[in-house]
């Protein structure tokens, strides 16, 4: 025999499920949006410089300049165009055909062979400073590699005393996709947990169905749990889809344990759901709930979570603000779990903060969600 309380709970869960199935927009948010966002961030947006259009000018072409040119051509970072004079190349920069120029003056080869300092001139379009830095770095890289190679071939030790050997950990290729994809998962879960939930509960207030539910013997806890379960399942389903895409489609390594990813995701999902519920209780209006959810959860998840912008390079005041953004903790959890592995010193504190937030919001929701119209 099913208990009265479970029957009511089941009634709410079933109703929500029917509504989700009937409403194409919630299905779209749960299953189409993750795919679109992942593809967008996985392929479309790249914070790496690749195929940078680069101009090359050799005032006096010879074998040495051709060898350097070959190095640039072989590099996957550049799309090389050669120009006969620096003026032509500068014009190309003005027209934004190329983003930078490597200029070998007429005395380049002779100086180099004489063992003298043989500089190349680098001109970079600095409109996008970030891009300019990256371009500069890549040019330096190619130049250093070529120089070493050149010296070896001549049997000469390079005159440089200190050489920097770089080793990048966790994301050796420095591919932005590797850390963007886990971040996108955070965004997706924020949208489902807070935005979708805030809207659907506000809808009940707006359409007057809440009043009818309230006069039934339904307890508020049953209502709360009945609302949470279907959206929790929807959010986790979307999470699995994103996870599968991340690992198999975008080849982001999952170095941490699968189960820890699931447990921390569930934790974050619950925090998001609580915030969504709270927003809808306070606003009781779909439009306001939507706006609030975007401002309170979605935008911070984008800007302040460390998903796109490094928290450590933010002004101190803003860094302090990020401390109350739940997605911040989940971004650092997911990025660590994906790229580094089960690093307990990261997992434990971040999970604890999320757990504390969950309890905090649960208490507030229980207090605010009364079976009264006032």
């Amino acid at each position: 025999m099913i208990s009265p309380s479970n029957m009511r709970l089941w009634g709410i869960i079933r109703k929500e499920a029917w509504q989700i199935v009937r409403d194409p927009s919630s299905i779209a948010i749960a299953f189409v949006m993750p795919v679109v966002l992942l593809y967008l961030f996985g392929y479309g947006i790249s914070l790496n410089a690749k195929d940078i259009p680069l101009g090359l000018v050799a005032d006096k072409p010879d074998l040495i300049t051709q060898s350097l040119q070959g190095s640039f051509e072989r590099s996957e970072f550049f799309n090389l165009m050669t120009f006969n004079s620096i003026q032509e190349a500068q014009l190309a920069v003005d027209e934004r055909l190329i983003d930078g120029i490597v200029w070998m003056r007429s005395n380049f080869s002779s100086n180099l062979q004489a063992g003298l300092d043989a500089p190349i001139n680098i001109i970079i379009n600095g409109v996008d400073s970030n891009q300019a830095n990256i371009t500069n770095g890549y040019i330096q890289g190619v130049w250093q590699a070529w120089l070493t190679h050149f010296a070896e071939s001549k049997g000469v030790e390079l005159s440089q005393t200190v050489q920097i050997k770089q080793r990048v950990w966790f994301n050796a290729a420095l591919s932005s996709r590797m850390y963007l994809v886990p971040g996108v998962i955070v965004i997706i879960m924020t949208i489902i947990g807070s935005l979708l939930t805030a809207m659907v509960v506000a809808r009940e207030w707006e359409r007057g169905t809440m009043e009818a539910l309230m006069v039934t013997p339904l307890r508020m806890k049953e209502m709360l749990v009945g609302k949470l379960i279907p959206y929790f399942i929807l959010g986790m389903a979307s999470m699995f889809l994103s996870l599968a895409l991340a690992v198999w489609q975008f080849e982001v390594p999952l170095r941490g344990s699968f189960w820890i990813v699931i447990v921390t995701s569930a934790l974050f999902m619950l925090v998001s759901l609580m915030i969504g519920l709270l927003i809808s209780i306070v606003s009781k209006n779909q439009f306001v709930a939507g706006q609030l959810a975007i401002i309170i959860t979605f935008l911070p998840a984008f800007i302040l979570s460390g998903f796109l912008f490094d928290i450590n390079s933010m002004p101190t005041a803003i860094q302090a603000v990020t401390l109350i953004v739940p997605s911040r903790y989940f971004v650092s959890l997911l990025q660590t779990l994906f790229l580094a592995g089960d690093v307990w010193p990261v997992i434990i504190p971040n999970s604890l903060v999320l757990l504390a937030m969950l309890i905090f919001f649960y208490v507030i929701v229980l207090r605010k969600f009364k079976k009264r119209l006032e």
Partner: protein
């Protein structure tokens, strides 16, 4: 424990809004007996909905006690909620779920045992006549069917006390009758107690008992008959041959001894201040002097509405209109101001308006009647030029408003069904805006503004935001806004929907006055009794005109031995039924 289904003792409820404390309910005490239908009536804002929410435990009173079937609501709302069924004004049906899914949900929430469900569903669906529609989405049901489904959901567990908040607002007359049948069936079969609020006085009359609320206070409680009893000897039906009923009403309502005058049939129903003999009634001189027709004054049985008005009118602030329009028997010009010829409008496959034709003369009140979805609003929008016609011709004041210059629009006034003024602007700002939108400015604008404020008694609300006005005042403001530029033709779309009888009376008084001054008025309504105010009317159903003529013509159609004196509603139902039979005959 008494056998009272509901007991309220000195219940008060305060609301705070914009720093002001409003007493929504003030020391209300009453009891309702088990197995009775009790009507909760009162003007808008009297506190009816607040009272119902208090009883259901959705609100907590500031003081006082409420007991439902012996259980204290304040200390144990959940126990009460498992004993009562409450249908809010906007019943909480899920439009995106089917009829069956809505029933399943409420069965779960009401803890109906699974084995008992199917028989109960079948029973309720049969009773409401909705068995064929269980798979339909609730959002696709008509207004009347939605109400019936809402009622079915509340009745799933046969509550001991059933609370219905305005269950019949916006529901067509046929569905209204069905709803009442269902309610009485429940009362007689299971001994359910019912408390329902209504704005329809004829419905109040059908209750076993009524409770009248006004401004948060209990004014009276008793059997409708007992309440109207004190008025016997004070109600008469007066008609004067050769005097139009509208004129007659205006003259009579301004007569000194008359408390209320209401158009009824071809004459006027009056409520006198005191008990008088029919022969002792002296009509105002204008009526006896200018016409030589027979004057007939017949005593009639008092109705509940008379009691309601008599009780509230003395308390209300309606000032009598001092201007009396010149008496005229026939309208000045017989030229058609509005002419509609074979007007049709289709939306895809669906024919919303199907070849309708009619003419409206100058100074006439012309009514467009019909249930929800009959095509009234669509026809209306085409007339106002808001919607292109699919075929047929429309001319208003000789013009097609769809292509006419803006100047032509100055000649018409339009009052939309929904409150379409700016909620966050004050009354004065709204009137200023709408008058400038019609090109009024300077001294003229000031004059019209002053006129609107005095005529519609908006002085006290001048600086109140339109959104915070009581419903009746919102309607006044909309009406005033439509009249700022003194239009010759007035379009009124469901102007009295959801408005209480007092406000409706006031509204019609003003409308009649305008018509007497030569303004042509086209009005849609689903209140059948309001059809009596019209000179001519058409009844629409499924996009077609079922009948056209004067109110008397309509009623004559339904007159037979069983119904010697049919009301407008009887006529409407008769027309619908005979139309259905015709359809069936065609199909067969």
């Amino acid at each position: 424990m008494s056998d009272a289904a509901l007991k309220l003792s000195s219940v008060s409820k305060l609301f705070e809004s914009h720093g002001r404390v409003i007493k929504a309910l003030d020391d209300v005490s009453f009891e309702i007996q088990a197995g009775k239908v009790t009507g909760l009536i009162g003007p808008d804002g009297a506190g009816k909905t607040t009272l119902m929410r208090l009883i259901s435990g959705l609100l907590v009173p500031a003081s006082g006690a409420i007991e439902v079937v012996g259980i204290d609501v304040i200390s144990d709302p959940l126990a009460v909620q498992s004993q009562l069924g409450y249908m809010p004004q906007r019943f909480g049906l899920y439009d995106d779920l089917t009829v069956q899914q809505n029933l399943d949900l409420y069965a779960d929430l009401q803890n109906i045992a699974y084995k008992d469900r199917q028989p109960r569903f079948d029973q309720l669906m049969n009773m409401t006549g909705m068995s064929p529609f269980t798979k339909r989405l609730a959002g696709n049901l008509s207004g009347g069917m939605k109400q019936k489904l809402g009622l079915a959901c509340t009745l799933l567990r046969s509550p001991k006390l059933l609370i219905l908040d305005e269950p019949t607002v916006g529901v067509d007359p046929v569905s209204r009758r069905e709803l009442w049948e269902i309610i009485y069936q429940q009362v007689s079969q299971v001994g359910m107690s019912v408390l329902l609020s209504t704005a329809y006085m004829d419905e109040a009359e059908r209750c076993d008992e009524v409770v009248l609320l006004h401004e948060g206070k209990l004014l009276m409680q008793g059997k409708p008959k007992d309440l109207s009893q004190p008025l016997s000897g004070r109600t008469f039906h007066i008609s004067v041959e050769g005097v139009r009923h509208r004129t007659l009403q205006q003259v009579l309502s301004n007569a000194p001894d008359v408390l209320d005058a209401l158009i009824e049939g071809e004459g006027v129903r009056v409520v006198m201040e005191q008990v008088v003999d029919a022969k002792a009634i002296v009509l105002p001189q204008v009526l006896t002097q200018e016409t030589h027709g027979t004057v007939s004054i017949d005593p009639v049985k008092p109705r509940f509405e008379d009691a309601f008005i008599a009780r509230l009118k003395t308390k209300s602030t309606i000032t009598q209109q001092t201007t009396i329009a010149p008496l005229s028997v026939s309208s000045s010009a017989d030229k058609a101001v509005i002419s509609v010829d074979n007007l049709t409008r289709t939306f895809g496959e669906f024919i919303a308006v199907n070849k309708i034709s009619f003419n409206v003369k100058k100074g006439e009140v012309f009514g467009l009647l019909g249930a929800n979805g009959a095509g009234k609003s669509t026809a209306f929008r085409m007339l106002c030029g808001l919607l292109p016609v699919s075929s047929g011709k429309v001319s208003v004041a000789g013009l097609d408003l769809r292509v006419a210059a803006a100047d032509a629009r100055r000649r018409i006034g339009y009052m939309a069904q929904k409150f379409s003024l700016y909620s966050d602007l004050s009354v004065t700002q709204n009137l200023n805006f709408f008058s400038s939108a019609y090109g009024l400015s300077g001294k003229q604008q000031k004059q019209r503004l002053a006129w609107a404020i005095t005529t519609f008694e908006l002085e006290n609300y001048k600086n109140t935001n339109a959104g915070n006005l009581p419903l009746g005042y919102k309607q006044r403001l909309s009406f005033a806004a439509a009249l700022m530029h003194e239009p010759e033709i007035l379009f009124l779309d469901e102007p009295t929907s959801g408005v209480d009888p007092l406000a409706r009376r006031e509204f019609w008084e003003r409308t009649n006055h305008l018509a007497e001054m030569g303004v042509t008025i086209l009005v849609t309504t689903h209140f059948m009794d309001e059809a009596n105010y019209c000179d001519h009317l058409v009844i629409m159903e499924a996009g077609r005109i079922l009948a056209a003529g004067t109110p008397l013509d309509m009623k004559n159609l339904a007159r037979n031995d069983e119904q010697p004196d049919p009301s407008m509603e009887d006529a409407f139902i008769y027309l619908l039924n005979s139309n259905d039979q015709k359809h069936q005959a065609v199909i067969a």
